[in-house]
């Protein structure tokens, strides 16, 4: 019994210490972010790896989510004789929730894990140490550009996800099932409010971008520099990233509803 309490205590202390390290890390990251915006090619390189290379998975996933929303939405709405509202349902679901959340989960698994792996391997092969000894701060040169690339890419990817998803819903609703084309779009136009839906969706995806990229770069930076350590760090990025996104989504949604 005492051992169990001691283990719980130790785990709590370890978690608090780790959170402290993560907080200090993000402060150092922000302090050394100047180089990222002075040397734009560094940022562009990481935007390409985090953003451009994630577009395919975002587009394919967005299309499938939109197709499913079209089918499920139509099936549910027709029970109440409201199938003409399909456009609004698809757009609201994607812009408010599914776009930011699913895009962030996909981003954590594709770009986040790649960031952790790259930083972890650079650590394991002493590349970060070598940079430090060459008087080049690795946080400024390697970590900060990746962080800002993730923060910038995330809302853009969420936007692409939602846009493709809406097209998927349109394809199922209008082309396959035969909902009226004009009604589909006009319902969507009437239902979607820019401030409440689009802007809040952008705010969410920005916050998710900060959370996921912070977790990804921190896990890479703090991993044990061995094959097993890097692999654990990648797993943590995906798992912690997904949990943090879902938890943050609840908190943000609650605040956004209270604010209305």
């Amino acid at each position: 019994m005492i051992n169990a309490v001691a283990r719980l205590g130790q785990a709590t202390i370890d978690t608090v210490v780790q959170l402290g390290f993560a907080a200090r890390f993000v402060i150092a990251l922000l302090r050394h972010s100047g180089m990222t915006f002075r040397r734009v090619p560094l940022l562009i390189r990481d935007l390409y790896f985090a953003g451009v290379l994630s577009i395919l998975i975002i587009v394919v996933s967005g299309a499938f989510v939109g197709l499913v929303l079209g089918l499920q939405g139509y099936d549910t709405l027709q029970r109440f004789g409201s199938e003409t509202a399909l456009g609004g349902v698809v757009a609201l679901s994607l812009l408010r929730e599914l776009g930011p959340v699913v895009a962030a989960l996909l981003f954590a698994s594709r770009a986040g894990s790649a960031m952790t792996a790259e930083i972890g391997l650079m650590k394991a092969t002493e590349q970060l140490d070598a940079m430090d000894v060459m008087a080049v701060n690795p946080i400024a040169r390697v970590i900060a550009p990746k962080f800002w690339a993730g923060v910038i890419a995330m809302p853009l990817l969420a936007g692409i996800f939602s846009a493709v998803g809406i097209l998927g819903g349109w394809f199922i609703g209008v082309v396959v099932i035969g909902v009226d084309h004009g009604t589909f779009w006009s319902q969507m136009q009437n239902a979607v409010d820019f401030d409440a839906d689009v802007r809040n969706g952008i705010v969410k995806s920005f916050v998710f971008g900060v959370i996921v990229t912070w977790i990804a770069v921190f896990q890479g930076w703090s991993c044990t520099p061995t094959a097993e350590g890097v692999s654990r760090a990648i797993t943590k990025t995906v798992v912690y990233g997904a949990l943090a996104v879902l938890a943050a989504d609840f908190v943000l949604t609650a605040f956004m509803f209270i604010g209305r």
Binding site: T125, E126, Q127, D129, A130, V133, M134, R141
Partner: protein, 271 residues
């Protein structure tokens, strides 16, 4: 060997205790290296050699004692002072630590691009000269994945001397090399040190190659300097640990067996 101890002191450690967290690694270390000198730090794995290097680069602060490198007191220096000092130091890592997203040319150009505003043609000329010095000008456009272990070490050496450092540090430069690459790296360490008028510190446990190359040797064991002197003095040292290390004896002060209860006792133990 072309050095004189009255030459300028490049680095010195005096009464240094150091470690990580609460674990002490080095105890009361006194160490000096002068301009023109190639100094070896020898000792078994885990003896504290690499920790000593980390003190010289300012990556680790001593718990007590003084660390002075190129006139900068590293035990008191700010982050900016440490970074400024590192521009005057070159370091070769154990396996090169080349940047895998850059090719050979860009690896060597890295410090020049980061710390100078030289025009591109001049950077190109400097990089080719550094690569020529290590015999790899023809490999300038190879990817790092296309290099052998010895070649990677030589590229890393070209990168380490890109800014003409006054102090060059080598962490296990001979580890895992074939005899030809080993002799090449050994020759380059001596030749580059003399050509640049620098000082070099070589952390190694390769006895034969090192004793033929260096001017002075420090022996580290369990965080203490147990012997130091010229290569000849080290070869004839009476210290049992140094004798065991230099002559490669399997048993001695560094025991063959990891500490354990007697074998008979272990065999009789019930599982």
């Amino acid at each position: 060997m072309a050095y004189c101890v009255t030459e300028r002191l490049v680095a010195s450690l005096s009464g240094v205790d150091a470690g990580y967290g609460t674990r002490q690694i080095l105890h009361g270390i006194d160490f000096t290296v002068h301009r023109g000198q190639v100094v070896a730090i020898m000792g078994g794995s885990g003896s504290g050699k690499t920790t000593l290097l980390r003190l010289l680069t300012g990556q680790l602060r001593p718990w007590s004692g003084t660390v002075e490198v190129l006139g900068v007191r590293l035990d008191q220096a700010s982050e900016a002072q440490r970074y400024a000092l590192r521009r005057r130091i070159g370091m070769l890592f154990q396996f090169g630590a080349l940047f895998t997203d850059l090719d050979v040319f860009e690896n060597v150009a890295f410090p020049l691009r980061e710390h100078t505003r030289l025009p591109e043609p001049l950077i190109r000329d400097l990089v080719l000269l550094k690569l020529e010095a290590v015999g790899l000008r023809g490999a300038a456009r190879l990817k790092t994945s296309e290099l052998s272990g010895g070649m990677a070490r030589r590229v890393a050496l070209a990168r380490a001397i890109a800014l003409d450092p006054e102090l060059i540090l080598y962490d296990e430069p001979f580890a895992g090399l074939d005899p030809i690459s080993l002799a090449t790296i050994g020759t380059l360490i001596r030749r580059l040190n003399d050509a640049l008028g620098a000082a070099s510190v070589v952390v190694t446990h390769d006895v034969v190659e090192s004793l033929a190359l260096v001017d002075y040797v420090y022996f580290v064991s369990r965080g203490h300097i147990v012997a130091h002197g010229t290569p000849d003095a080290i070869r004839n040292a009476s210290d049992p640990y140094v004798r065991q290390f230099v002559h490669g004896e399997i048993d001695g002060p560094a025991p063959f067996h990891y500490p354990a209860p007697p074998l008979a006792e272990a065999l009789m133990e019930e599982i």
